[in-house]
Symmetry: C2
Subunit: 536 residues, 2 copies
């Protein structure tokens, strides 16, 4: 920067929207309505209250909260106070919550009434939290050893704080993510990265001041893909939603004229399978990630009059880093071919850098080598630049390992197609190795999901005396489909050695709170009686 | 930045569009069509050619060219080569062109055939230009002492260059702007500023991959408001237009499905008054600046089915820094009230900082003091941040003077309204001082233009024995309107002392090439016989 440049920060977005559109609706949260002036006032008071609570500059402040105007406000207030926001997944168990607070050295912990009792059970073990504050969430308040949110706010004032920051590379939030093994890692986001990814989201979702964004995505998940900042920048309306249930989603869509929502394919599935589902009155853009949307889901969503965006990223990339950009000439293709193209993770967004797929056999210290862009050679997906984290909190070793060769290593395996689009074939840990051959479980799942009768599918490796491991499929079917029929369908599309011998029809597939399939659970059941575990 | 961040540069935008949308149309230039792959290829070859021409890193390369795919390519190729683009106004006289090239120490000068003869007449006086290259523009080539563009390109190669830059605060272009007095000043833009203002333009114009942008704005004017980079980032289509004539504009709109264009109100006037004018087949957004659009023009533009954006900025602010954001509740107002609100310069854009109006009587070294937000107290418009220039080339003194108090002083006078919107009342030099009272010529012009019969108006100070100076109006009328009628109309709207005694009906008002009224010309005529000149 030159001396005259201003550091980039998403705080500027609220400053501007509150100044330019003070009377415009910023948030709908149950029966409450906040204008942008209200939101800025709340944010200022909360920031002043945090400052008045013995929290030092740069200290972490943790939240255990569902989607609410309070958690939205926290995305601005905590950095405005000069602190770092740690929004924790509400599905975690008390020991995990305690671990995260301890690791982040959080001073304050703000908790929804609903989750307070669980936290209080573990309260004595928290090492750095000096005060727990109860966030009212509509359920009966507890306030037993916790400070009421209103009392916290009373410590604050309405005196304006500067929205400017001194250093755009300062940490704005830390998001904890579970690795394959070991303890959660604290992913550090910067003001600069949050600002630029918010712009990414505005451009690629088409957020404008007419946007009404339904919060089906948890705000604690990668800071809601930077959408708290992006929708605020656009001066759109945040429609808060605490529980992603079909009835609540449809009511919000109908009552509040929702124009955008985001979530894993399971959210799309919930939406389209609901008894309330009906053709939409206005354009609705649904952005999905976490798993490629199946042709059946895409078809259903489109039949309601909605558009599907497919994006990809990780906690380490501020949420979405890439988008499957739709090409004009795809319009001429039939629905299945379009869906197959749209199932790919695509290309880096405008403010991201490119997305590469590199060989996994490169020696450390050597330059990364791209795989052939032939849709076949598998490699690891790597990313870099402003939309990639600053690093893991308090873990320089793991950080430097993750950035080997100057690029962030996602651990996800995929291919690059001839048109440059990247397709994820497997989370690295989910590769099935059968007779020495790598099988991508995603590839098998996609083969299954290309059948019109398949609603959802998951494939894991199960023990096999001959091959060590072989793929087994779990399928949620929406018609009278038999296993035999599905096996024949898959075999007609991919190699025989990849085709599962067992296809189990189930009523639901276990998912994480963010919609990723819990393959570990499926696998555990299958491996229970096995003596050996293939190295994956 | 952290070590892992990438420097911001608009070069990334072409890199991305060429990689993701290689076959998409990038530019229409006469009979020529360039895809994004073609554009990137041209850019790479040109950059290599510049490097092979004895130009050192950081050296300036000047262009004297109208809107063409070559000048578009130069916005990427010159920085890609590691050099600085200086795009010169083609209306300038040879000595002015020579002054700019000398001051910028330009090594190469690329000139449209049309302008080559004028340059060659002055050729011997150029102190730093080592080579003049002729850009084919459809007129008869000259090639007398100049290198053919094709020969220059032959020196290059298709070997890829890295689109990355080492320092985002490095200068990407220098734009020369004429001050009120003295020689043109060289305004330095950075990669960071160009990147962020391009994002501003995408967001506020709504550029998408469906955009077809008609180049009615000269690319040499503030680098075409950063639109060469913005439209490329959106992977839209650049429709090049060398001459802003009504027939050519309408033909482009009809043949190429233009969705956006920009220009001074005179461009809107040309468009709407054309015999070819007809209701539009698709949405067209027209962004105007340089002077507030009159209610009559806004009404005409809207009647064709088009939307008007009003933006404001200077060469020193990368073109548009602010926008008159339209509030939802303006929709209920009548056309005249809406137009009055839309005539204001508004508020800082999303990636800009705020726009302030400060008192002009503050002592140097003291903090700037805002005027009252009452729509009445006049002050100077000041701006800062990433969308403000790095400084004046080779003029640290003038730079530090322009940034007195940490904000860029525009020299423009205006007010802040109660809703925070800034309204420009006068370019500082255009204040009319009559009997000690400041009269804003813009205010008088707007009063005139609120009459439905007025197409265009300009007001200047003329000598007056009693008051020293008094306003005189020049009006282009589109109906049977008399001076008496207009004087009565103005007197009904603003103070009597501000009302011109003379209203001269003329057929046209002299304009600069960028559409600003040439008040000096009007004033010169009026002051020819006067012995005294009031201090302004």
């Amino acid at each position: 920067m030159t001396g005259l440049d201003l550091p980039l920060t998403p705080l500027r977005f609220l400053e501007r929207s509150a100044a330019v559109f003070p009377d415009r609706l910023a948030a709908i949260d149950g029966d409450r309505r906040l204008t942008y002036a209200d939101l800025a006032t709340h944010v200022t008071r909360l920031a002043q209250a945090v400052r008045a609570s013995g929290v030092r500059p740069g200290d972490r402040v943790a939240y255990l909260a569902s989607n609410s105007s309070e958690l939205l406000a926290a995305h601005f207030a905590i950095p405005l106070a000069g602190n770092v926001l740690v929004a924790i997944n509400t599905r975690l168990a008390p020991p995990e919550i305690q671990y995260i607070c301890d690791h982040a050295e959080a001073r304050l912990l703000l908790v929804d009434s609903t989750h307070l009792r669980r936290v209080q059970l573990q309260r004595k073990d928290f090492r750095t939290v000096t005060e727990v504050i109860e966030l009212p969430d509509g359920t009966a308040p507890i306030v037993n050893g916790a400070t009421a949110y209103a009392s916290l706010l009373d410590r604050g004032s309405d005196e304006a704080l500067s929205w400017e920051v001194a250093d755009e590379t300062a940490t704005i939030t830390i998001n904890y993510t579970s690795g394959t093994t070991g303890r959660p890692k604290g992913v550090m986001y910067t003001h600069r990265g949050a600002y630029l990814n918010a712009l990414n989201q505005i451009v690629h979702n088409g957020f404008t001041s007419d946007t009404r964004y339904l919060w089906t995505l948890p705000m604690f998940h990668c800071n809601g893909w930077c959408h708290p900042w992006a929708v605020t920048a656009a001066a759109g309306v945040h429609v808060c939603l605490r529980a992603v249930r079909a009835d609540a989603m449809w009511q919000s869509i109908d009552d509040h004229g929702v124009t955008h929502l985001s979530g894993a394919p399971v959210v799309l599935s919930t939406l389209t399978s609901a008894e309330q589902a009906h053709p939409l009155q206005r354009a609705l853009t649904i952005t999905t990630a976490g798993a490629p949307p199946s042709p059946a889901i895409i078809k259903k969503v489109r039949s309601l009059g909605s558009t599907v965006n497919h994006v990809y990223g990780l906690t380490e990339t501020y949420g979405p880093y890439s988008i499957c950009e739709v090409q004009h000439d795809w319009e001429g293709l039939d629905a299945e071919d379009q869906s197959a193209l749209l199932a790919r993770q695509g290309v880096g967004m405008l403010c991201s850098d490119e997305m590469r797929v590199v060989r996994t056999d490169t020696e450390p210290g050597h330059p990364l080598v791209d795989v052939r862009p032939d849709g076949t050679e598998m490699g690891e997906i790597v990313m870099r630049g402003n939309i990639v984290m600053k690093g893991y909190h308090l873990d320089p070793e793991l950080t430097s390992q993750a950035f080997s060769g100057g690029w962030f290593h996602s651990g996800d395996l995929g291919v690059r197609h001839a048109d440059g689009y990247v397709q994820l074939f497997d989370r690295a840990k989910d590769v099935i190795i059968s007779g020495g051959e790598n099988i991508s479980s995603v590839e098998v799942e996609q083969a299954l999901m290309s059948h019109p009768g398949v609603e959802d599918a998951a494939v894991v490796g199960v023990p096999d005396d001959t091959w060590g491991e072989r793929p087994k499929a779990f399928v949620v079917a929406n018609a009278d489909v038999t296993s035999t029929e599905l096996i024949a369908h898959v075999k007609s599309r991919i190699a025989a050695y990849k085709t599962p011998r067992d296809v189990e029809i189930v009523t639901a597939i276990p998912k994480t709170s963010t919609g990723k399939t819990l393959k570990t659970a499926l696998r555990a059941d299958e491996w229970r009686d096995s003596t050996a575990r293939i190295q994956g």
